[in-house]
Symmetry: D2
Subunit: 340 residues, 4 copies
Amino acid sequence: MKAALLVRKGHVDLQEFPEEKIKTPDEALVQLDALSICRTDLEIIHGPTPTKKMPIVIGHEGSGTILEVGENVDHVKPGDHVLIDPNSYDLTCPTCRKGLTNLCPNGGLLGRDGDGVFREKFATHARNFFRIPDSIPVPIRPMIQQLSTTVHALNQIRIEPGHSVLVLGLGVTGLLLVQLAKLKGAYVVGTSTLPGKLELGRKLGMDAAIDRAKVELVPSVMALTERRGVDIAIETSGLPQLQRMAVETLAPGGTLLQFGVSGEETSYSLTDAYLRELIFKASRSSQPRDFVEAIELVGQGKIDLEYLVSGVVPFDHVAAAIELSRDRVKILKIVMLLNT
Amino acid sequence: MKAALLVRKGHVDLQEFPEEKIKTPDEALVQLDALSICRTDLEIIHGPTPTKKMPIVIGHEGSGTILEVGENVDHVKPGDHVLIDPNSYDLTCPTCRKGLTNLCPNGGLLGRDGDGVFREKFATHARNFFRIPDSIPVPIRPMIQQLSTTVHALNQIRIEPGHSVLVLGLGVTGLLLVQLAKLKGAYVVGTSTLPGKLELGRKLGMDAAIDRAKVELVPSVMALTERRGVDIAIETSGLPQLQRMAVETLAPGGTLLQFGVSGEETSYSLTDAYLRELIFKASRSSQPRDFVEAIELVGQGKIDLEYLVSGVVPFDHVAAAIELSRDRVKILKIVMLLNT
Amino acid sequence: MKAALLVRKGHVDLQEFPEEKIKTPDEALVQLDALSICRTDLEIIHGPTPTKKMPIVIGHEGSGTILEVGENVDHVKPGDHVLIDPNSYDLTCPTCRKGLTNLCPNGGLLGRDGDGVFREKFATHARNFFRIPDSIPVPIRPMIQQLSTTVHALNQIRIEPGHSVLVLGLGVTGLLLVQLAKLKGAYVVGTSTLPGKLELGRKLGMDAAIDRAKVELVPSVMALTERRGVDIAIETSGLPQLQRMAVETLAPGGTLLQFGVSGEETSYSLTDAYLRELIFKASRSSQPRDFVEAIELVGQGKIDLEYLVSGVVPFDHVAAAIELSRDRVKILKIVMLLNT
Amino acid sequence: MKAALLVRKGHVDLQEFPEEKIKTPDEALVQLDALSICRTDLEIIHGPTPTKKMPIVIGHEGSGTILEVGENVDHVKPGDHVLIDPNSYDLTCPTCRKGLTNLCPNGGLLGRDGDGVFREKFATHARNFFRIPDSIPVPIRPMIQQLSTTVHALNQIRIEPGHSVLVLGLGVTGLLLVQLAKLKGAYVVGTSTLPGKLELGRKLGMDAAIDRAKVELVPSVMALTERRGVDIAIETSGLPQLQRMAVETLAPGGTLLQFGVSGEETSYSLTDAYLRELIFKASRSSQPRDFVEAIELVGQGKIDLEYLVSGVVPFDHVAAAIELSRDRVKILKIVMLLNT
């Protein structure tokens, strides 16, 4: 079978790869039908993120159809459509025992810490496969993995209807966070320097849009909130200067949720955090419960993912798909389909 | 009657002051019986903290006996012993409406934003008086106000029995936080550079003491927690370098609670916060519910405050009391008694 | 001025009533512009609910314009449009100190425990007036009080997007709860025996409707939820048989929220509650924070109240308005307008 | 090897049983060192609780030493001392995906739904073994399983220092709940009709004891709480009349936590639940996180279990051990030791 291997930094090749088989009675084997590319993949391929081995099969967003299940597997059967949870965790360390599987110190991510899902077939512990309703179109299925990480982020905080939420950065995750905050009844303000993203955000439900190329962020937020500031600011760029602005926009008792990440340090004023009793939270990856919720939301039609698909290409053209994905202005997600 | 007035920075005088009276049917009049001095008072008297006017009656920790109540007042009656809540809040701004009276933008603190309680009699809205059981000795009553701020801090987070809690800095608030964390069943680690404070912390229930004058903090915490780090770190000094160390000691999913405050900036690594999905919280002042809880804890004998009393002097010697309070190594709290 | 007085059970008269004035510097005086009738009013007028005195001015849902404010009042000024919070609470009992003003044992409801708001002018502590944006049409303003009670109910529980919520009974509160659950991203199922209410519920966002006149409730819910049951069931009728059915529809770990109330007893199986680890919660009235949230939701256009207005009559015809309100099949809310 | 089999209702025989072996690379094999008997075992042996098969190895409270681990097992190694989690769950159903493994519809309990742990050796998925510090004495180790169920119960609610907690019934679980509530800083009231249990409860930290053989429960609770009632009542008997009394003792906004279970129905007044906005919760079994917490609490010396051991007998005398356990007045727990 074919697999997309990172052979050295910057070089992905579609190569023949050993046929995949079930190794234990707890595993299931999947025929992949759709794959999508994430910013993390680009950081692995072109950026500074190291992999545990090289060459390595890349990719962590994939969906498919169950071909075969081990004898202990009950919750999926051949023919079922599934989403892959690309996270591993040991379930026995103190962190997993507390339910924080996303923080397992012995865990890892497919396509970085082990061979990923950009291939024709894939077998793993059946626990990592989540059933998807047939009604969800194939091309959007793999992107539900990324949705699960934004679902996880919002499960870290409490958003009530009427709360004001500022989303900084309207890339794929920013736009998903806009949709989710809107779904929770929030008054959602989005900000970007790209007019196209602001327009798209409005279509997805943003109550207000702030174009940072034209106006100052903090005074604009204050004007929209009767000078109180927002209850919640979600920062998706990982840029320290944006994060500092995000802190300034918070109302007393407000929460900054940091979604994006960069290698840099940020700083803030202790006095400021004290006077407004601020809360800072970070969010990383997702847990099984977030997958269940993300699939439900797409299945119930509450979250639309179609608009994210900026291009669909055959898996054979994985190198072109990766190249397209590097355009962060015009491309949101590239989906690859397999001959199924 | 007599009152302690800050006449200019660094100078407190005991002076004659106009007799206090009830001004509305919602007010009550109190005869003060005990007063205590807080670090915030010292920052007002000697430090950079500005006051709204000058001269101003100082002080915000006081207890007394009700002399007279307005006709609308039901919950206290003449003869009742009460603690004073020195915080004002308007109850009608959006922040108060959400229950965050401690963050009211129109609020203030007695002894800084208005005349304080270091005087013989004091009248205000009866809502600010909380009944104290007679069984609590007079000298420790005013200190329950400070306890309420540490109760508030721990109400910002969830501590379960068995959680590990690191308290950085063992001044008055650090020691109270040790007691409260212990009361919640936590495994409490305290750290200081003063052997006397570490010894006192152990007597108050610390499970482990780390003398930063002798050993490195972070490796010591890791050794105590099987290399996981602590679930919660509470920083009471407001020093950026201590806060950075506190962050390093956190387990995956851990929380840093910032109690102390200074005028400085601190910085942290975005990547680090992301990888361990950390939570940072600040705590400011206290709310009415925290007063109720603090009084209950002292009344039920669950929190001991006696050890805090490093000296008792008559109110007439307020200047000496303030001078004594400046010794942060040997003095915890100085209490002033009135001739009642 | 005129006021609607309950002179004896079943008899409401529009009578001359002493002019209203500000009595303390904390009060404000309002010119009423709109009033609405609630089921509780009907229970006071025709039903078993006793009043603290007789005759008594009835009514607790009212909005108006500020005419005059006492000297201590800052948050509203003459000309402001306001909603009245008809609940009183002392703010000094242990229950209020914990923030549970809606459960204050010394509290009461206007129009039942004291003279109500069905009159031309009304003065009370300004804290009980909440500013309403001018953009909200006058006839729907008084109904925001009722909305606040359903906001309070949903604040008792945690609804996440994708959660399944069953609403039993589609009267005014049931329909509001449908809207709010929908606003929180839930998959909302409504049930009634009235086809008109089911149709209205669908228009307001119900994902599924169960006509209990035609099908069995419990099997229908199970069929809709892949045999899991719902995460949350909200019972608004107060009928024991419906409540028992509601319990049967719950998924493992599910919550029954009881909104309606009757004088009857209900029973449930201890074993059943244990096996599924069920949670039962009740909800009563609302708190200031719920008023803030309800006004925000209507002001932001997230909750529509227009459809509730089944009739608008002049205040002079209060007796007819009450009579109309007794038709629970065809009438949702009757609003009375004053000559303003 | 020997195993204790229930051969028919009421008859337990120690018989030869096939040697136990590791069946998959995920399993571990344990040599049992201590076993304890729970009320659930007695209901299986003598009472109405059915088993999935017969004969069946009984027992679900056991500890031991790891003999051998499968190749995938990292978190325990030969020689480690472990506690057995006797619950099974599939980790793939929607209930488990939400973290509610204790409510898994496909789950079961060892000794009832499959062969139990009253035997010399036992192998299962290594995930079900939790490491125990060597410092914990052997005889108390198996009882930590029962402690985990009370830890789980208290994790269903929020107890803050100073909260008042009433525990109804002072059997093994009642006494453990007293200890845990005390550990969380609560004001703990216990009630029983047995003076010996009340005395024991006092030694374990109860602030007040109510002897229901001598005084009425509800008025006694009201007298202890300044007529407010308790914040939390925990009912451990499962008797409807006690549960009804428990409801009467609740303060406004109070919570009834139902720990015990019987086959009966209970009833309550809808109006009463509404007026005080009560919360009813049930608790069932425990989750992995509760095992971690229970082991930590015993390891840190925060929870004492020694007093529970009413008798220690060799495993060969399992029939006598069961007989002794039926005396609910004088016997708390009987522990059986194996020749290790």
